[in-house]
Symmetry: C2
Subunit: 340 residues, 2 copies
């Protein structure tokens, strides 16, 4: 019996901000899974800023999505049919389903999700790639130490949420940067940041400086733009900047909001900064330590998180476009199918 | 009996390139050394690009030289009178004498020089701070591995000379960048670089690209400017850039020869580059390993070096100005006094 999949494709490459017309829709019959493959139906789809990069025809750490191809992404899904010995019908898994209601995927790429630990969609958020990204940024690349000051851009986003709370649990001063009073209030009141600065404020740079009286030791970089410009002069000697994203610049906008390279270089030199681009897939070996430390925080109720949910796969493009403008609050998800 | 010292001072802060009028001269009677101090007479003075930074009134890793103060610097000197138990009259030491014919210095800051190993001025070059800088850049920060490609800017300078030969001894492909055909010929013929590109060439970027068919894994950064612009697009995944200097930008010139920060940031992100500012004084713990590896190369005659010598302390300012323009060849020294 053939299995139908509804999918979102890349209809054309965006010029600047993506628009709804950049996406297409298709319904196809999936092939039967071959040996080692698994047929899954998607329950939750994760939307992440890195996907914007894949829409461009530019060399990156991964190939771009081809024109007409299915948009890439990770989902939480239920196994419908398995030809891999590690998985059985009814298992819940995290899988690279793409923006699709169902997919045939290789068994090796799957990660089992235990529904008894936490809601299954956390496998896409605090316990998934964004959570591991935050852990690697704070711990492995950022080398955050007790008593230091960390600044987290996109402080209430999926990564920032975990980065800030992890840093607080480790005894750092944590200052968030977010867009708008509501997000900043949430960052301080719910996530426990010591302070949060609204990057829309006219005196943003002054406010940030005032919030870091001892300078900045670690800056979790997601955004580029004027946040980066304000951060660089405040960095302490031997400061670390894990570069996870540059959302302000993905669409080719805000390019005027950039310090001149010689100024950045002078600070790198005199302060002996380390700036390190990072991709979570390079750090899979950190997952056990991540699950131990962040898992304990979740179990103890010490890790709060929030989700923005779009209902139905057809609404994924608009939710994605909105997310790139900062319209989401916490982890951006798409509800693709019902719970098992 | 008072001891006289002739000294070069900072008469005014340079605007852009330093000029002779930015320097002053004075002759003073030195005080007697106190307990723990040593009186030395300078034999050799080292001139180094970092000194340009100290002439500006800008926050850096060290305080600026105050107006009217003695220019800072390291020399090789003979002990005239010692009130430190570790040193005796007649010892040869490397000391922070400043640009001075004699100085009273603290005993703790001194390093004994053994004249039987190599000419004593090598304590300011291949066996001194520049040599250790090269070692830390290639080894500790650059993490250079056999089979990788390293590009060394200022390839025939005091640091580059050691960096290139150390990299070759470790089995890397080493490509130098230097100013002019003479330096490039020396880099290849004498220092053993696989290739050397003249940064004055119109098609410099194309020539550099052709010289690194497998891309660049480590870039030893001394210069900024157009060399950096040509290097960034050629960096390989997980590439490392130890930032030691930015000589093209020290004088506030060539600021137009800089990639836009968003372009650099995109490369940092997609290639997972590590850019790390470094200062040799932070890495004193690497000296034993440095002396072992580089000392062995010198003993075996496998490490070549060249010196440019200015005769007499009064000629130090002009030699320094010339060096910043690339007029030196190898290690720039000033002969301040006779050998013992």
């Amino acid at each position: 019996m053939p299995h139908e999949a509804h999918r979102i494709t890349l209809a054309r490459r965006p010029k600047g901000e993506p628009t709804p017309d950049d996406f297409g829709r298709e319904t196809v019959d999936l092939p039967e899974p071959s040996e080692g493959e698994v047929l899954v139906r998607t329950i939750w789809l994760s939307l992440d800023p890195y996907m914007r990069g894949r829409m461009d025809d530019a060399k990156s750490y991964a190939d771009p999505v081809p024109l007409g191809g299915v948009m890439e992404g990770e989902g939480v899904a239920e196994v419908i049919e398995s030809r891999h010995e590690g998985f059985a019908k009814g298992d819940i898994v995290a899988a690279r389903t793409g923006w699709a209601s169902a997919a045939v995927v290789k068994g090796e790429g799957l990660r089992k999700v235990d529904p008894s630990i936490a809601p299954i969609q956390t496998a896409l958020g605090v316990l998934g790639m964004p959570g591991l990204t935050a852990f690697v940024g704070v711990d492995t690349v950022g080398k955050a130490q007790k008593g230091e000051t960390i600044v987290v851009s996109a402080a209430t986003g999926a990564v920032g949420t975990v980065a800030g709370q992890l840093a607080k649990a480790r005894g750092l001063r944590a200052v968030g940067v977010a867009g708008g009073a509501e997000k900043c209030a949430y960052a301080v009141d719910e996530l426990g940041y010591d302070a949060c600065i609204d990057h829309h404020a006219e005196d943003f740079a002054e406010q940030l400086a005032a919030a870091v009286p001892d300078g900045i030791d670690v800056y979790i970089e997601h955004v580029g733009g004027k946040t980066l410009s304000a951060v660089i002069p405040l960095m302490n000697q031997n400061g670390r900047i894990p570069v996870i994203g540059m959302i302000a610049w993905y669409n080719g906008q805000n390019l005027d909001q950039a310090l001149p390279l010689p100024k950045v270089w002078r600070t790198v030199l005199t302060k002996r900064l380390t700036i390190q681009g990072m991709l979570v897939f390079d750090h899979a070996d950190r997952r056990p330590d991540f699950e131990k430390e962040v898992g304990a925080l979740i179990r103890d109720g010490r890790l709060t998180y929030r989700e923005t949910v779009a209902d139905g796969l057809d609404n994924a493009p608009e939710a994605f476009i909105e997310m790139l403008k900062g319209g989401n609050f916490g982890k951006q998800l798409v509800r693709v199918g019902p719970d098992p």
